[in-house]
C-alpha cells in the first residue's frame, strides 16, 4: 500500500482510473485555545481509501486536528468537509459548529478510536458494540447482536462477547473499541494514538487489526508514534510541528529523505 502513493492519487490509483473521491478536505484550518494557537492554516486532502498518518512531537497539534475532524473540537477559522459535507457553518473566515442534530448525523458516519479506549465501563463487549447501531440507526436487538458477533470475530474476540471492559486487557479493549466504531459502518476512521496506552506486548494485535482495515480499503487518519506501522501502512505521512504541516510525503520520502531539519530531528528521536 505504501508504494508510490502521492497525495493526488492514493494507493492503487492508476492515471487511467477515475480519481477516487475526496473523503476529507481541510482548508486553512486554525484552532486556538484562548490566545494559544494550536493549529495554524492547515490544508489537507484525504482521498477515499487512503491511509494518512500524522506524526510529530506531543503538543504539535495532531490530536487536536483529529478532534476537529469529527467535531469534538470546534476550529476557530477555516473550512472542513467530510465526504463532501460541510462540518461547520462557514461565515466568511469563521467556523461555527453545526446544529447538534446535524453534527450527530455526520459523526455517526465516522469512527473514532481513542488512546484510552473509552469503552462503556458498565456494558459488556457486545453491548458496547450494539448500543449505537440500536440507538442511532434503529437496528433491532437481534440484528445488532449478530452484527456485534460478526465484528468481534473480525477483531479476534468472539469469546469475549459477554466480558466487561475491566476483564479485558488493554489490547482487547482497544480491539473492541475498533469493532464498536466499525458497527456504524463508517466512511472514515480516526485513530488517536490507539497504542500509546498499551503495554508493548499488546501493541501488535491492535496494529494488525488496523492493518487489516487498511487492506480492506478503509479511509483512515491515524495519529501514532509507531513508525514501523507508519512505514508499512501509510499512503502518506504528515509531519506536524507547532501546529503547522511542516512536511508531507510518502513513507519512503519521509523516512529515507526528509527535507526538513526538524523532521530529521524528530525521526532520530523516536527511532
Amino acid at each position: 500500500m505504501s508504494s508510490g502513493a502521492v497525495s493526488a492519487v492514493p494507493a492503487g490509483g492508476s492515471p487511467l482510473a477515475t480519481a477516487p473521491a475526496v473523503m476529507v478536505r481541510i482548508e486553512k484550518l486554525s484552532k486556538s485555545f484562548g490566545t494559544l494557537p494550536v493549529l495554524t492554516d492547515i490544508d489537507i486532502t484525504v482521498h477515499q481509501g487512503e491511509v494518512v498518518v500524522l506524526i510529530g512531537a506531543s503538543g504539535s497539534g495532531k490530536t487536536t486536528l483529529l478532534r476537529c475532524v469529527n467535531g469534538l473540537e470546534t476550529p476557530t477559522r477555516g473550512r472542513l468537509w467530510v465526504d463532501g459535507e460541510a462540518m461547520g457553518v462557514f461565515d466568511g473566515d469563521g467556523f461555527q459548529p453545526l446544529p447538534e442534530a446535524l453534527l450527530n448525523r455526520r459523526r455517526a458516519e465516522m469512527g473514532m478510536v481513542f488512546q484510552r479506549f473509552n469503552l462503556f465501563a458498565h456494558m459488556t463487549a457486545r453491548d458496547n458494540i450494539t448500543l449505537a447501531p440500536m440507538m442511532v440507526k434503529g437496528l433491532s436487538r437481534t440484528d445488532a447482536e449478530s452484527l456485534a458477533e460478526r465484528l468481534l470475530a473480525k477483531v479476534g474476540l468472539s469469546d469475549k462477547s459477554g466480558a466487561y471492559p475491566s476483564r479485558l486487557s488493554g489490547g482487547q479493549q482497544q480491539r473492541v473499541a475498533i469493532a464498536r466504531a466499525l458497527a456504524m459502518s463508517p466512511k472514515l476512521m480516526l485513530f488517536d494514538e490507539p497504542t500509546s496506552a498499551l503495554d508493548p506486548e499488546l501493541i501488535g494485535e491492535v496494529l494488525d487489526t488496523m492493518k487489516g482495515l487498511a487492506e480492506e480499503g478503509m479511509t483512515m487518519i491515524v495519529v501514532t508514534h509507531e513508525m514501523q506501522f507508519a512505514r508499512e501502512v501509510a499512503d502518506r505521512i504528515l509531519f506536524l510541528h507547532q501546529g503547522t504541516i511542516l512536511e508531507e510525503g510518502s513513507p519512503q520520502e519521509i523516512f529515507s529523505a526528509p527535507r526538513e531539519e526538524r523532521t530529521r530531528a524528530f525521526l532520530s528521536r523516536v527511532r
Partner: protein
C-alpha cells in the same frame, strides 16, 4: 452509681409507646429523604446548567442549607415561615419539610458529583458514535453515575435518620420525644436513652447493610 440497679423492665412496660415513636422517626425520615431526593435532583440539574440564572440560585441554595445548623432550619420552618408566608404548618410538616430541604442540599451535591465523576472519555466516545446528548446521559452517564452515588447517598440517609431526632424539639412525637416522655415519667433516663440509642443504631446499620448488598450486586461489571 455503684448501688444503681438497672430497671430495663420500664422499657418493656412502655415498649408500645416507644415503638410508635420509632414509627414516626421512620416516617419522617422516609418522607424527608424522598422529597429531598426529588428536590436535590432539580437543584443538581440547575447547578450543572450552563445558564447562570439557574446556576447561581442553586449554588446559593446548597450553601445556605449546608452552612447553617439543621436545628435552626427546623425552627425557622416552624416559627418563621408561617409568619412570612402566611401559612400554618403543623410541627410534623414543618419539621419534615426542613429536614427534606436540608437533605436535598446534600443530595444535590451527591448527584452532581456522581455525574461529573463519570470520565469525560465515556461521553466523547458516545458522542462520536452519533448518540445525542440525551441518549448519552440516559445510556452511558447516568447508569455509571448512579452506581457512584449509592455510597454517599446511604451516608446521607443515615445522617438523616440521626438528624430526625431534632424534630422532637418541635414536639413531634418521634422516638427521641417519646423517650423523653418515658424518661421523665419513670425517672429512668439511663435505661430509656440507652435503649433508643440501640434502636437508632439498628436502623442505621440495617440501612447500610442493605445498601452494601445492593452495591455488590451492581458491581459485577467492575
Amino acid at each position: 452509681m455503684a448501688s444503681y440497679t438497672f430497671r430495663f423492665d420500664v422499657v418493656q412496660q412502655y415498649f408500645g409507646f416507644l415503638v410508635s415513636g420509632a414509627e414516626i422517626t421512620i416516617a419522617v425520615t422516609a418522607a424527608a429523604l424522598s422529597t429531598g431526593s426529588v428536590v436535590g435532583l432539580v437543584v443538581a440539574l440547575a447547578r450543572m446548567s450552563k445558564r447562570r440564572s439557574l446556576q447561581l440560585p442553586a449554588v446559593a441554595y446548597v450553601e445556605v442549607f449546608r452552612n447553617t445548623p439543621a436545628l435552626i432550619q427546623l425552627m425557622w420552618f416552624y416559627y418563621c415561615l408561617p409568619i412570612i408566608a402566611g401559612v400554618n404548618l403543623s410541627a410534623a410538616i414543618a419539621a419534615t419539610l426542613a429536614l427534606a430541604m436540608n437533605g436535598s442540599a446534600y443530595v444535590a451535591e451527591i448527584i452532581r458529583g456522581g455525574i461529573q465523576g463519570v470520565d469525560r472519555g465515556q461521553i466523547e466516545a458516545a458522542r462520536t458514535l452519533g448518540l445525542t446528548h440525551a441518549q448519552t446521559m440516559r445510556k452511558v452517564v447516568l447508569p455509571q453515575a448512579l452506581r457512584r452515588m449509592i455510597p454517599p447517598f446511604v451516608n446521607e440517609s443515615v445522617s438523616l435518620i440521626k438528624f430526625s431526632s431534632l424534630v422532637s424539639v418541635l414536639g413531634v412525637a418521634d422516638l427521641t420525644y417519646q423517650a423523653q416522655v418515658v424518661s421523665t415519667t419513670t425517672f429512668r433516663p439511663i435505661e430509656v436513652f440507652s435503649f433508643i440509642a440501640v434502636v437508632y443504631f439498628v436502623l442505621c446499620t440495617a440501612l447500610s447493610w442493605f445498601a452494601r448488598r445492593l452495591e455488590l450486586r451492581l458491581a459485577v461489571s467492575d
